[in-house]
């Protein structure tokens, strides 16, 4: 029965270092994570989402393609649904436009409210040509964003919407 005697002083020393260590770790960990996270987050870049749209069924008339995927926002995972207006241009290339109006973000409609061959925004009457180019004299000042596209097994995949430069 020869236990190591632990003096009062030693005991306090041990426990306090322990607690202090935890506290320091508690403060440091989030800081380290903040520093590292943006680096890790870049893994998500260049992600493509598969849609149910068959590429050979696309025509020169813009069709609405909805697609959904899971989005993780901190601790909160949600299913988001996005829309694209997709068609083939004269060169046969696939054009996928974001429906988000460049004025204040309403959803635009192809030939909405009887506007022939144009995208129409019901909120403040914004108009865009088929290419996505904004019609001067209406509220939007920039063209609609264009999605990056890919084709996989005959199905359309959409990436990130990017600003267009059309004069």
């Amino acid at each position: 029965m020869s236990k190591q005697p632990v003096s009062r002083r030693q005991f306090l020393n041990y426990t306090l270092t322990g607690v202090g260590g935890f506290m320091a770790a508690g403060m440091l960990m989030p800081m380290v994570r903040f520093a590292i996270d943006p680096v890790l987050a870049h893994g998500g870049k260049g992600e493509y989402h598969t849609t149910k749209q068959k590429v050979d069924e696309l025509s020169t008339k813009p069709t609405r393609v909805d697609f959904s995927y899971e989005q993780k926002d901190a601790w909160y995972t949600s299913e988001v649904t996005q829309t694209a207006w997709v068609y083939k241009n004269e060169k046969g290339e696939i054009v996928a436009l974001s429906p988000v109006c460049k004025h204040l973000g309403c959803t635009v409609d192809w030939e909405g409210s009887g506007h022939k061959s144009q995208f129409y925004c019901p909120c403040h009457g914004g108009l865009y040509e088929k290419s996505g180019k904004n019609v001067p004299g209406t509220p939007p000042t920039r063209p609609l964003d264009r999605y990056q596209t890919k084709v996989k097994d005959g199905f359309l995949q959409l990436g990130k919407p990017e600003p267009q430069d059309i004069a």
């Binding site: 299913e79 004025h103 204040l104 309403c106 959803t107 909120c123 403040h124």
Partner: protein, 155 residues
């Protein structure tokens, strides 16, 4: 626009473009109709979120006006009146109250603003993809109603 820091900031800069306030009316009860009120909240919440997305640049979606289900009608009407006065003072031209609580339907003429009553569909056992297409179908008719309202405004 949503009730968050970022959107309300752009609201304050673009006020003249955002002329419509969307307010869900949501009852709360802990009695036998607890589940019913909760489902109504779930349904109305999803529906108004989708409408906000569609009309982001012209609609501000305000947090729900919540009240105790058992509350006296007079009391509820008075409280709602305060809200609608406040919304008027903020300069909104249109007030849209969305609810699944049929009691409001009976008091419709005492409400200052447009009341939209939609019977809630219980969503709890539904698969996500089905749920969203159902909400979208429902939302479509309201999209038309809202656009129509705005057009009336012009003529």
């Amino acid at each position: 626009m949503n009730w968050n820091g970022k959107d309300t900031e752009s609201f304050q800069q673009q006020k003249e473009y955002v002329d419509t306030a969307l307010v869900p009316l949501v009852p709360i009860s802990f009695e036998s109709d607890m589940k019913e009120t909760a489902s109504q909240h779930e349904f109305v919440q999803l529906l108004t979120m989708l409408l906000e997305k569609q009309f982001k640049g012209r609609i501000l979606l305000i947090p729900p006006f919540t009240y105790i289900k058992q509350q006296e009608e007079e009391e509820k009407l008075a409280a709602l009146k305060r809200w609608s006065d406040e919304i008027d003072n903020a300069g909104f031209k249109h007030k849209l109250f969305f609810t699944s609580d049929s009691n409001w339907k009976l008091a419709e003429d005492k409400i200052d603003g447009s009341l939209v009553w939609v019977p809630a569909v219980p969503l709890e056992h539904m698969e996500d993809s089905y749920k969203y297409s159902l909400i979208e179908d429902q939302a479509k008719q309201f999209v038309n109603i809202i656009v129509h309202k705005w057009q009336q405004d012009l003529s």
